[in-house]
């Protein structure tokens, strides 16, 4: 039965290649408008999972449900609300981006009266307007990737499945992909995104699912994950407007309640480790501000998720 909020669910999902088990009884349910990072080492089963959800490969057993509909039995209905970008799709070299997007728009049933507008908007969003009528065969890898990304924006999808979407892009392209994901979040979409870039997941995702050897290790909000699994407590990256030249200042910061260590990243940036929760973070921030040191940035350190990742993956070896 179709659910009222977007959802994807793997139930006892198994993918077996001869003697190799790519997915081993994977159980995972994600629902609601949010962005979930899908993390794991190479060969953990991330892409396999996304491929099963998009009918690129068939599961050996179990279920892959999208909005409550099994992709294996009713792919057309299940994927009607989904846009996906898995691996690096190629487009026929003799086709232009506009034509490539047109076929997807038609297959997805974007109404004829708004089709051209949707295509223009998607091309604009990935900054490919100037290339819209050039043949894809002459494009760089990054440009093709932009067209692929544009194809996921066409039908205002409820669910977006992305397999390392910024891989292969230059720094500007990576930043644009993150912005695109953030924009999708603002439109209340469910985004399920595999990535090797923990900083990217920290930046755009609300939750993370960690997988290794085809098994789910953990799924929770990033904040809960860092609290539960980070060995050295949570970490914060703090930026200052002026260089911190006085060691005494660092000593003062070290004495802030619940801060366990202070690491100098450079003369304007510190990483604070602390034990506590979001309220503790707020308290640390207010104490830093009270010190009048010119704090100009304050965010959860990506290394916190790295700690979680390394701890969980290490435990699973």
């Amino acid at each position: 039965m179709a659910s009222s909020v977007p959802s994807i669910e793997a139930i006892k999902l198994i993918k077996q290649y001869d003697s190799f088990t790519a997915l081993d009884n994977l159980n995972l349910r994600i629902e609601g408008a949010k962005c979930v990072g899908f993390l794991g080492p190479n060969g953990a089963g991330k892409t396999t999972t996304l491929k099963i959800f998009t009918d690129l490969i068939h599961r050996s057993s179990g279920k892959a449900l999208i909005n409550g509909i099994d992709v294996h039995y009713d792919k057309k209905k299940a994927l009607a609300a989904v846009a996906a970008l898995v691996e690096r799709p190629e487009i026929y070299p003799s086709i232009t981006p506009r034509e490539a997007l047109m076929i997807i728009a038609k297959h997805r049933g974007v109404p004829a009266e708004i089709r051209n507008k949707k295509i223009e908007d998607a091309l604009h969003e990935v900054h490919m307007e100037d290339w819209s009528d050039k043949k894809v065969g002459k494009f760089s890898k990054g440009m093709k990737q932009r067209v692929d990304i544009a194809s996921t924006l066409l039908n205002d999808p409820e669910i977006v499945l992305l397999d390392e979407p910024s891989s292969g892009l230059d720094p500007r392209g990576m930043s644009e992909v993150r912005e695109m994901v953030k924009n999708l979040k603002k439109r209340k979409r469910l985004i399920f995104m595999s990535s090797h870039l923990l900083s990217e997941v920290m930046d755009v995702c609300d939750e993370a699912a960690l997988i290794d050897h085809g098994k789910l290790l953990a799924y929770d909000t990033i904040q809960n994950l860092t609290r539960r699994f980070s060995a050295g407590g949570s970490a914060l990256d703090v930026g200052f407007a002026s260089p911190l030249v006085d060691n005494e200042v660092i000593e003062v910061i070290r004495k802030i309640h619940e801060v366990t260590s202070v690491e100098m990243l450079d003369d304007r940036n510190l990483r604070l480790k602390f034990v506590g929760n979001a309220q503790t973070q707020a308290q640390i921030l207010s104490e830093l501000v009270a010190l009048r040191l010119g704090v100009n940035s304050f965010k959860t350190a990506s290394s916190a998720l790295e700690d979680v990742y390394l701890n969980l993956v290490k435990e699973n070896v």
Partner: protein
């Protein structure tokens, strides 16, 4: 462990209102897209060039040597001009437009662009097949146009109706030829293997092995596609449609009747189409 939503945040949600088109409509869209790709590809013009070259070469030979046997009647002329050559042209279209039609989706990763959409694999397969048929029919029509142009030099507008029949049979022959080539293309995920096996089977397998089996077994090769396609040439025989069985010195040779020929081609088409779609449905993009 079972991963449950840690923070469901079931926010008010407005579903997109797109209605996914029917399978038939998606086949049509896919066919249009594939056909556009074909007519922009070098292979389409290479095949047209080959077909035109064959036609012009025969035209030149006819003009220079004026072979009296073949110029004795329109049927004799069109039998050699069209009947002897068009089957080869159809086989070439199968190799050019069918041999890598499916395998390329795996090898060149174009399947990754289309498949994660609400479209059945069978719709993609059939859409591609239709596009290949249209491209093939254009190539055969070009050859037919050159044939008619040369025929007009010698016989004016005197066209035997059997030429029309043969043209229809040739178009019908595209069905099983593309069926076979699409099936082979579904077996392999590598274009080179797929093209090689298709070319060997269509150019040599049916043409040389089947007559050999026939001569050894002295039985009708009703299971061979090229035997059924013999109706394309036989219908243009100037001495009338050849008998079903001809016995010379105790050894039989066979000619498919028109219903037999059509049935053989149709059966090949249906079986290979079903097998091809089934394989494509089951293959993993890994």
């Amino acid at each position: 462990m079972h991963g449950l939503a840690a923070n469901p945040e079931a926010q008010p949600f407005e579903r997109a209102n797109n209605k996914v088109p029917s399978g038939l409509a998606q086949c049509r869209v896919q066919a249009g897209f594939e056909f556009l790709n074909y007519v922009r590809s070098a292979r389409f013009y290479i095949l047209l060039g080959i077909v035109a070259t064959i036609g012009i070469a025969i035209m030149a030979v006819m003009y220079v040597y004026k072979p009296p046997t073949y110029l004795s009647s329109p049927m004799a002329f069109y039998s050699v001009w069209w009947g002897n050559v068009v089957s080869l042209c159809v086989i070439l279209t199968g190799i050019f437009f069918g041999a890598d039609a499916i395998s390329t989706e795996f090898q060149n990763k174009t399947g990754y662009y289309l498949l994660p959409n609400p479209i059945r694999r069978s719709s993609i397969f059939i859409g591609k097949w239709i596009a290949s048929f249209l491209a093939s029919a254009i190539a055969i029509s070009v050859y037919a146009a050159i044939t008619l142009a040369d025929g007009a030099i010698y016989f004016g507008s005197n066209l035997p109706y059997q030429l029309g029949e043969s043209f229809v049979f040739a178009l019908f022959y595209i069905f099983p030829i593309l069926g076979v080539s699409f099936f082979i293309s579904s077996v392999f995920k590598n274009n080179s293997y797929s093209i090689l096996v298709t070319a060997i089977l269509l150019l040599f397998g049916f043409s040389y092995i089947a007559p050999l089996i026939t001569s050894l077994s002295n039985s009708e090769p009703w299971y061979v596609l090229s035997y059924g396609a013999g109706i394309i040439k036989n219908v243009l025989s100037s001495s009338g449609y050849p008998p079903h069985e001809v016995v010379i010195a105790g050894s039989s040779s066979f000619n498919a009747t028109i219903p037999e020929g059509l049935a053989i081609m149709f059966t090949y088409f249906v079986i290979t189409l079903i097998l091809g779609i089934t394989l494509f449905e089951k293959e993993d993009f890994d």
